[in-house]
């Protein structure tokens, strides 16, 4: 177990392993995306209340739900950085923060576009949108702390700590915003579908899209992580050999 763990922390090992996995992940991602998008756009029956805007859910829901995973991910990686000083964990914290900001931004944008017709306005202070908005702010905080600290070792630890603090905070914010929201304007949270009984035509494409977005998340993280490894390990022998063999 310990050996496996320390091997996982080795950038070289990760670089080689991920190099072998990446093509398969990319292929799977495109397959899931293609089937999911075609199914969602063409075949899903329209919602009796929301009409064809239900197509928006098939991208909004996967992205929004995965965006909630970023702070826990960063907090776990941050803990590993602080406790075991594992290089790879810090790279995960570093690459996850901007990607998480993208995910959150897209979830916000798609949520508010969906709301144009349903709520009659681009933006309402709905519980979910509000807590996503603050999650976005906190992620931007981690990104800007990283770019402000020049010393990479201090930046690694500072961002790890901020991720842990941020993760606790996001959870508290989530609950307090929900509470605040129910007291101020009850019942405006959007629901996935009002006709759940409709069967597999509704949820199979959703599952496919969730899979596709998860794969996209993995692919993008792995790609940025590999870039970061190349830059940090540029003086090591294996990177020099890799460059020589180009």
């Amino acid at each position: 177990m310990w050996l496996w763990f320390s091997k996982l922390g080795s950038p070289k090992w990760f670089y080689e392993l991920s190099g072998r996995w990446l093509p398969w992940l990319v292929a799977a991602m495109f397959a899931f995306l293609f089937v999911g998008v075609v199914w969602a756009l063409l075949f899903v029956p329209q919602d009796y209340q929301q009409g064809l805007t239900n197509r928006i859910f098939y991208v909004h829901v996967p992205v929004a739900s995965i965006s909630l995973a970023f702070f826990p991910l960063m907090a776990i990686a941050g803990t590993i950085t602080l406790v075991w000083k594992m290089k790879l964990a810090d790279i995960v914290v570093k690459t996850a923060a901007p990607l998480g900001a993208w995910f959150t931004a897209f979830a916000l944008a798609s949520g508010s576009i969906w709301g144009i017709d349903t709520w009659g306005t681009w933006w309402i202070w709905d519980g979910r949108l509000t807590s996503l908005l603050f999650q976005f702010f906190l992620l931007i905080g981690v990104v800007s702390l990283r770019s402000a600290l020049e010393d990479s070792d201090a930046a690694a630890k500072a961002c790890a700590l901020l991720s842990i603090v941020g993760c606790i905070n996001v959870v508290v914010i989530k609950y307090s915003v929900d509470w605040w929201n129910t007291l101020h304007q009850p019942g405006t949270d959007f629901v996935l579908s009002s006709n759940k009984a409709n069967g597999p035509d509704i949820w199979v494409p959703l599952v496919l899209m969730i899979g596709a977005v998860y794969l996209f998340f993995a692919v993008s993280m792995i790609m940025s992580t590999r870039n970061e490894i190349l830059e940090r390990e540029r003086r090591s022998q294996w990177v020099e050999e890799l460059v020589d063999n180009l």
Binding site: V37, V44, T53, I56, V63, W102, F106, I113, R226, V243
Partner: protein, 68 residues
């Protein structure tokens, strides 16, 4: 299977039951979102490798005695 398609014509598909703007802008943003986060790291990798290669060549030429 084809008769399960919800639209009878292509223009109807584009129209999205009157929600063309909402649906297509979200899917457009989705494409940008995916594309940016896949292409940017891809180009960055090329850039890094090019950079490392150039530096490697410069180093080799600068200190030939070390590499021999």
């Amino acid at each position: 299977m084809l008769n399960a398609i919800q639209f009878s014509s292509f223009s109807e598909f584009l129209n999205m039951g009157g929600y063309a703007f909402n649906v297509w802008s979200v899917y457009g943003l989705f494409t940008i979102f995916l594309g940016a986060n896949l292409l940017v790291p891809m180009f960055k990798k090329k850039q890094i490798l090019k950079d490392l290669k150039r530096r490697r060549v410069v180093n080799k030429n600068a200190r030939p005695e070390i590499n021999e």
